[in-house]
Subunit: 151 residues, 2 copies
């Protein structure tokens, strides 16, 4: 992971889930792994769900959402041969997100995310993302992103 | 809303999205409205998404998730004629969540949530939830919750 994270290159600035400039956010960092995007993240005790032992489902949704859209953004810049964050800025917003929670995610575990683009059509990108911890997939997400122009 | 919120009655304690005991969480408060559950919530600037003007999609997912499961929990207690939070404690965990983001949600707006149970079968509850702001539905969620026993 010698290359800087998409977010540190300016893919997104202020987002609660992944903006490097949001010091109260989750600050997810996404990187290329071939044509896929990978990220690792570790929660704090207050990111728990219904029990203190497990990661919150909304936090899981946030991580999957941000990681998936960051892949779409990074892919779009790469396809245009431009640096991430260069003008005009490329944004993606979520149109649909469908998450299957397969098993509990231990709160203290290192979270691993892996996303890949499964379809591109016009402004739309369909991304599949897995969230793993302790060697097991805990949740899977299907995210539909729509490209927009960000100021 | 004279009655206390489900969360303040002990439906959930520590959850990042809605636990009253989680002072770093979103502290969503859900109430009965007939057979439905309603809630209002207002974000802070750091809860923004890709642009600072709009609420983060992961936060929207958190609110829909927590509000929907709290309805399932409250309904289960009511069906048993028991006070929310009484022993043995009733919990629900999310198995699937499918969210359609219909339009941006202004970050400064008061968020309104409304959830209703559409199907119950064994330990499973299917809940539909809308998230509105400024008089318009901004996102809809379908949540499948599975009943569990919480210690």
């Amino acid at each position: 992971m010698a290359e800087r994270a998409f977010q540190d290159q300016g893919s997104v600035h202020h987002c609660h889930g992944c903006g490097a400039a949001n010091d109260k956010g989750l600050q997810l960092k996404s990187y290329w792994s071939g044509d896929e995007a990978i990220a690792t993240w570790r929660g704090e005790p207050h990111h728990c769900g219904g029990t203190r032992e497990n990661l919150n489902g909304g936090i899981i949704a946030s991580l999957i959402d941000c990681h998936s859209l960051n892949l779409a953004i990074a892919h779009a810049y790469r396809a245009e041969g431009r640096a991430i964050g260069s003008e005009p800025r490329i944004g993606y917003v979520t149109a649909n997100m469908n998450i299957n929670y397969l098993k509990p995610t231990p709160i203290e575990a290192l979270i691993e995310l892996r996303a890949r683009i499964v379809k591109l059509e016009g402004r739309k990108a369909w991304i599949n993302c897995t969230l793993s911890a302790a060697g097991q997939i805990r949740a899977t997400g299907e995210v539909l992103g729509v490209r927009v122009v960000w100021e």
